[in-house]
């Protein structure tokens, strides 16, 4: 263990202390706002330092409590993990700012900020876990804090969504845990790197790959792939926009991360699984796209898009060539930024018009031309209008698909892109172009036009920040592509990961 590895604790422990601090500020919601914003700013700083260290020096690892791997718990930051931790922190900051201006006081008094921070900690932990059971534990905290965030405020719609969310996600945890038990029975270890080493020595490879399927189902539920996605469209429109934004950006991506991690590190031997994932990707792309087509509530449209676009990442994993993995990673980074932003955008529209129904919305373009221009960035980035961010990973993915002769998969990707294009264009026409109706005025509802400028700025700033990030990804695609290629090469050759953990 090197001393540089110790730094790995920093982003994680900082999130933990911030969460505890926020708990102690229970009644002081005004202080919580600022603590959350500045805390997450610091968190972003720490994550950036971690990212830069990994970028320069390669994968880092640290053993909790100083117990040598594989006996203790290992944390690992390779390029993939460090990138995701960085993105998590960025989303965390954006959402903290947005929450400070948008979440109702009542919810803040019920512990909104501390729970949000626990969720962010759980996400960072999951990305850094180098131990499969430790990963499970991080998933636990993610589930429980997201459950509390969905229910916080206790409106009927929220509770209904929360029950579905929780039931299915607990089911996922049970499957995950069972899979861990089988895996432990076969290998006697929980450490990911150690698993990668021992995987080759297992006599009963068939049983080993059965446990892989269990993992696929467990993580598949989390990633919301076909036919395991039901919890997502059932719950994402319920909580406050800020919460949905974190969920949309990061929750499913943790599942995808876990899939990519274990299917590039531990279970790489069985071609059946990759072929199977190809079919899952096709159906996910189709089902999500078709689902988005028939929604009227814009948040539901975006929810189905989350499902649809997970298909691109699964497709990359299924093709499993280096360019395909790079495409999947690129898509993931793009998707985290854009999806989070879309839900912030939906929240902003709600503040302006007090509805998220496309039929009732309209006239934003005439009333808020510059804001519309800003909102167009995430919308058209999602579509992948070149050269915006969603376009680039498709180049890698489609080319990789053609090279691997996965023509059906390529077709599904194109169909999904087409559906996304049409649906977003229609949404644009309905929400921005069509003549608007004046919102039904409800007293004390906190309309955007009535807000003081500072609060308005706090609402728009995070959207602008994420939109800038999208533009950067799009116009300087080379940067993210180089990063993605490096990640892909690390993923397809796990030796460096293993070396970082096991001396």
């Amino acid at each position: 263990m090197t001393t540089t590895g110790q730094f790995l604790f920093a982003p994680l422990l900082f999130q933990f202390f911030l969460a505890v601090l926020l708990l102690f500020l229970w009644r002081r919601t005004d202080l919580q706002r600022w603590a959350s914003i500045f805390g997450n700013l610091t968190g972003l700083g720490l994550a950036s330092v971690l990212f830069l260290r990994v970028w320069r020096g390669g994968a880092l690892s640290v053993q909790a409590g100083g117990w040598e791997a594989p006996f203790g718990i290992t944390l690992v930051a390779d390029m993939f993990s460090a990138t995701l931790v960085l993105l998590t922190s960025a989303i965390g900051l954006a959402v903290a700012i947005y929450s400070a201006a948008s979440v109702q006081e009542l919810r803040l008094r019920l512990g909104y900020f501390p729970i949000l921070q626990f969720l962010l900690m759980g996400l960072a932990g999951a990305f850094l876990a180098g131990d499969i059971f430790n990963l499970y534990v991080w998933f636990e905290i993610i589930i429980i804090s997201s459950f509390v965030l969905i229910t916080i405020g206790g409106e009927r719609l929220q509770l209904e969504g929360a029950v579905k969310y929780f039931t299915i996600n607990i089911l996922a945890s049970v499957i995950f845990l069972t899979a861990i038990a089988i895996l432990y029975g076969l290998t006697g270890t929980l450490n990911l790197a150690d698993l990668a080493v021992k995987a080759k020595d297992i006599d009963n490879q068939a049983l080993f790959s059965v446990s892989a399927l269990m993992f696929f189902a467990g993580f598949g539920i989390k990633s919301a792939v076909f036919p395991l996605y039901f919890w997502l469209p059932a719950s994402y429109h319920a909580p406050p926009a800020a919460v949905s934004a974190v969920f949309a950006g990061l929750l499913t991506k943790v599942g995808v991360y876990a899939l990519i991690r274990i299917f590039s590190l531990v279970f790489t031997a069985d071609p059946f699984i990759y072929e199977f994932m190809g079919w899952i990707a096709i159906l996910t792309l189709f089902t999500g796209g078709v689902g988005a087509l028939v929604q009227n509530n814009i948040r539901r449209v975006f929810s189905f898009f989350i499902v649809c676009h997970i298909g691109f990442m699964i497709a990359g994993l299924a093709i499993f060539s280096r360019p395909a993995l790079a495409g999947a990673v690129f898509y993931m980074a793009h998707d985290i930024v854009v999806k989070a932003n879309l839900f912030l955008l939906a929240g902003l529209i709600f503040k302006i018009r007090h509805t998220n129904s496309m039929k009732k919305l309209g006239g934003l373009y005439a009333e808020y031309p510059r804001l519309s221009l800003l909102l167009a960035v995430p919308l058209f980035s999602l579509v992948g209008i070149p050269p915006l961010s969603g376009f680039w990973p498709k180049v890698s993915l489609v080319l990789a698909g053609l090279e691997g002769r996965h023509f059906l998969l390529v077709g599904a990707m194109l169909l999904a892109s087409f559906l996304t294009l049409i649906i977003i264009a229609r949404l644009w026409a309905e929400v921005f172009w069509k003549n608007g109706q004046a919102p039904e005025i409800k007293p004390n509802a906190g309309y955007f036009p009535d807000m003081e400028p500072k609060r308005r700025a706090l609402l728009v700033a995070p959207i602008a920040m994420l939109a800038l990030a999208s533009l950067y990804i799009g116009f300087a695609a080379e940067h993210l592509q180089l990063l993605s290629e490096r990640i892909a090469s690390e993923l397809s050759d796990p030796a460096s990961y293993i070396r970082a953990v096991l001396p």
Partner: protein, 770 residues
């Protein structure tokens, strides 16, 4: 050259920032941008003619193969000149036409962005860059068609256009990447010289389908043409620029550019000739049934695009020359006709050709221009149109075995085009002036000069086609054929067959113009066929797909958690059991299973009975109690297998759970059975099957030797290094202390969650306030 292409985008961005100040003289001055570009591209002509075209490269995202590499050869410059030239006139014209419009800045921003994108399409050498610009033209077209965004019809047309061209765009992406895969390069020039004989490649049909899909949607070929007449909802300058002179020719450009690579196979020629031919005749006949000026022009544009595809399909040097010249011919006369239609609409307030007449008395220069371009569209001497049409007949006459048929088709299409041109360019100006138009007056010079200029060019190039020969036509054709093209552009070829055919066309067309009157009645009659037209069919399919989507989505996303769980468990069951029964060697190693004592059997029986009670009882309390029994039995098993510390933990948890359950149940309403027997049987069967599956899995895992390295390490080091006597405790707080820390956080969060759920909900608060 980078600046030249990007200047349109920079202009658009500037307008996005300072759009409000954009009015008055600044608008007119903005035409200097396209004019400057026009001059710049003119200055590049000699280089292209000498075979040393200007080249620019910038590595944008080299890892993804995308370079901004521009290559100004003859073909690219032909289009670039049309884009910037007509762009100049449209910029000027719009300054007057859109004067005082609230969103003038926005309008020019879209136009500027479009111009940049379109230049990018025709100058890019990198096929992905071409695709990027291609998509941007579709997008700017979407915004321009929907410019009158408060009108539902405009919005719908914009969506239709984006739907068709967007689908084509995605096909182009796939086609481009397939070409990259096959040829191993991203540069179109390198593809052409790579020596890969594409028509013999196994993927050739796929490439062809994709490229055709892209080109046909963009260039409005049958049966994808219907978006173009719809797009006429856009302001007239937009129709002039995008939907007649430039953007719709992007597909044609693509075909021309890739022609050396893809042509030479029956698939290429037959498809293009057939579809191009059908398009030109189908659209040309439709001209007869239209009464709206822009409708007539839209269909004659589709017909012209059909002719172009048809010529590229013939693919001989003569045909390609005819296509290149016809691109210019058509851009000149059709843009002028659109601009004139805009003037008429602007001044007379209608575009209905059955009502328009006599306007020549008011706006003579416009009428003169109209006359000139109408005869150019008719292909009558001494206009440029005559040169173009001669070349077309020259090409069809030497097109091999089918030449007679092809020539006849071309003649028929040209007769109808003549009719369309005359109706749009001559009829509104001829005859007596009806009372309703007496208030119309001569438009300002910004409106009438651009069409007059275009008409003058049509005449000039007709009288002196040799002006174009060396600088433009020859380099353009050279880009499409192998070797040096050899031809001369002339107005007069002498009395030959082609001239006789021209005479025939003129006579036939004129006869049609004299005898046939467009009427609303006919327009309505053809409207009845809407349902079986490509547009109607496509819309029907789209509606059907949407209905299917609704059905499919609600089938899966039913809203019932129990159904979701059912699907998820079934999925897992099917997947895992398929894999187990096909690949795992199933057996039970009895040697590894310890024999069972009587008391163990009793405990198991107890668990089984308790489980059955929990499932079948009607009382919640009994179910909870039964679950408690199962829990305690497990504790007992732990005790038997010498794990007392685990047993104690489990015991405490089970007791707490049961107590909590009882407390909560006390407050719940009466138990209701909401599922029927069939549903319960189905769920029971699934549960049973899943339980058996897990059992099989567990048994199979037991067959394997467990690697005890980690466990032994804990046993050996718990006391020595961690100073703890209870191994379980040491694992929890030391070896794997971090797990415990996080689990404690889980409990904290859960506690907060319980607090927030208990009677502090927003709904309840609201109710309290009321």
């Amino acid at each position: 050259m980078l600046l030249a292409v990007l200047s349109g985008f920079i202009f658009a961005l500037g307008l996005a920032a300072f759009g409000r100040r954009f009015k008055g003289r600044a608008v007119v001055l903005s035409a200097l941008l396209p004019f400057g570009l026009f001059a710049y591209f003119l200055s590049l002509l000699p280089g292209a003619a000498a075979g040393q075209p200007a080249v620019y490269r910038y590595a944008w995202a080299p890892s993804l193969g995308v370079e901004l590499s521009f290559h100004a050869d003859g073909l690219g410059l032909l289009f670039a000149l049309i884009i910037s030239g007509i762009g100049t006139l449209v910029f000027l014209y719009s300054a007057e036409y859109m004067k005082g419009h609230k969103y003038l800045g926005r309008f020019y921003a879209y136009l500027g962005a479009f111009m940049g994108a379109m230049l990018g399409v025709v100058l890019s050498d990198n096929i992905l860059a071409l695709f990027i610009f291609w998509e941007l033209t579709s997008l700017s077209s979407f915004f321009l068609i929907g410019f009158k965004n408060e009108e539902a019809a405009s919005r719908r047309s914009a969506l239709t256009a984006l739907g068709v061209t967007g689908a084509g765009g995605l096909l182009l992406l796939a086609g481009a990447l397939l070409l990259v895969y096959v040829t191993g390069t991203y540069s179109i020039r390198e593809m052409l010289t790579s020596g890969v004989a594409l028509p013999e490649h196994g993927l050739y049909p796929a490439v062809l389908c994709l490229v055709f899909g892209a080109a046909f949607t963009k260039s409005a070929q049958f049966p994808f043409h219907f978006w173009l007449p719809e797009a006429m909802k856009a302001p007239t300058p937009v129709s002039t620029y995008l939907h007649s002179a430039t953007m719709v020719k992007a597909g044609i450009y693509l075909l021309m550019r890739l022609s050396p690579l893809l042509s030479g196979h029956q698939y290429w020629h037959a498809t293009l000739i057939t579809l191009g031919g059908v398009t030109m005749l189908y659209a040309a006949v439709h001209i007869l049934f239209r009464t709206d000026l822009k409708g007539i022009l839209a269909y004659s544009t589709v017909a012209a695009l059909g002719i172009l595809a048809f010529l590229i399909g013939i693919g001989t040097e003569a045909a390609l020359l005819a296509a290149a010249v016809f691109v210019l011919v058509h851009a000149l006369y059709k843009a002028a006709l659109f601009l004139i239609a805009g003037i008429i609409d602007h001044e007379a307030g209608t575009r209905d050709v059955t009502r328009l007449s006599g306007l020549g008395r008011i706006m003579l220069p416009v009428a003169a221009a109209g006359f000139l371009v109408a005869i150019s569209s008719a292909g009558a001497p001494p206009t440029f149109g005559f040169v173009g049409k001669d070349l077309i007949y020259e090409a069809t006459l030497h097109a091999g075995p089918w030449s007679t048929l092809l020539t006849a088709m071309a003649i028929l299409a040209n007769m109808l085009l003549l009719y369309g041109g005359f109706v749009a360019g001559i009829r509104p100006f001829a005859g007596p002036l009806p009372e309703e138009f007496e208030k119309a007056h001569m438009p300002g010079p910004l409106l009438w000069v651009p069409p007059v200029l275009l008409a003058a060019l049509s005449l000039l190039f007709g009288l002196a086609p040799q002006l174009l020969e060396g600088m433009l036509a020859r380099p353009a054709v050279a880009a499409m054929v192998a070797g040096q093209p050899d031809f001369h552009l002339k107005l007069w070829h002498g009395f030959n067959l082609v001239l006789q055919l021209s005479g025939l066309t003129l006579a036939g067309g004129l006869l049609l113009y004299w005898l046939f009157r467009p009427s609303l009645r006919l327009e309505r009659r053809i409207g009845r066929l809407e349902n079986i037209s490509p547009k109607g069919i496509t819309e029907g399919l789209a509606r059907g797909f949407e209905r299917f989507s609704g059905w499919y989505t609600h089938l899966l996303q039913s809203g019932y958690v129990r159904r979701y769980v059912f699907i998820i468990i079934s999925f897992l069951l099917a997947l895992v059991s398929y894999r187990i029964f096909t690949s795992v060697n199933l057996y039970i190693d009895y040697g590894r299973i310890s024999s069972m004592a009587t008391y163990e059997a009793v405990i198991l029986l107890l668990m089984l009975v308790a489980t059955l009670i929990a499932v079948f009882t009607d009382s919640r309390l009994a179910a909870v109690a039964a679950m408690g029994v199962v829990g305690y039995s497990i504790c007992l098993l732990f005790v038997f297998y010498s794990a007392p510390d685990l047993a104690m933990t489990q015991f405490a948890i089970d007791t707490l759970t049961v107590i909590l359950f009882v407390l909560v149940l006390y407050r719940l309403p009466k138990y209701l059975k909401i599922s029927n027997t069939r549903g319960r049987l189905r769920d029971g069967a699934l549960a049973l099957a899943f339980g058996m599956l897990i059992t099989v899995l567990a048994l199979e895992v037991l067959n394997e030797d467990i690697n005890r390295e980690v466990g032994n390490y804990y046993a050996e080091h718990a006391y020595v290094l961690a100073r703890g006597k209870n191994i379980v405790n040491v694992i929890l707080v030391d070896f794997r202390g971090m797990d415990t820390l996080v689990e404690i956080s889980v409990l904290t969060v859960a506690a907060v969650g319980v607090f927030s759920l208990l009677g502090t909900g927003l709904d309840i608060k609201k109710r309290g306030e009321k």
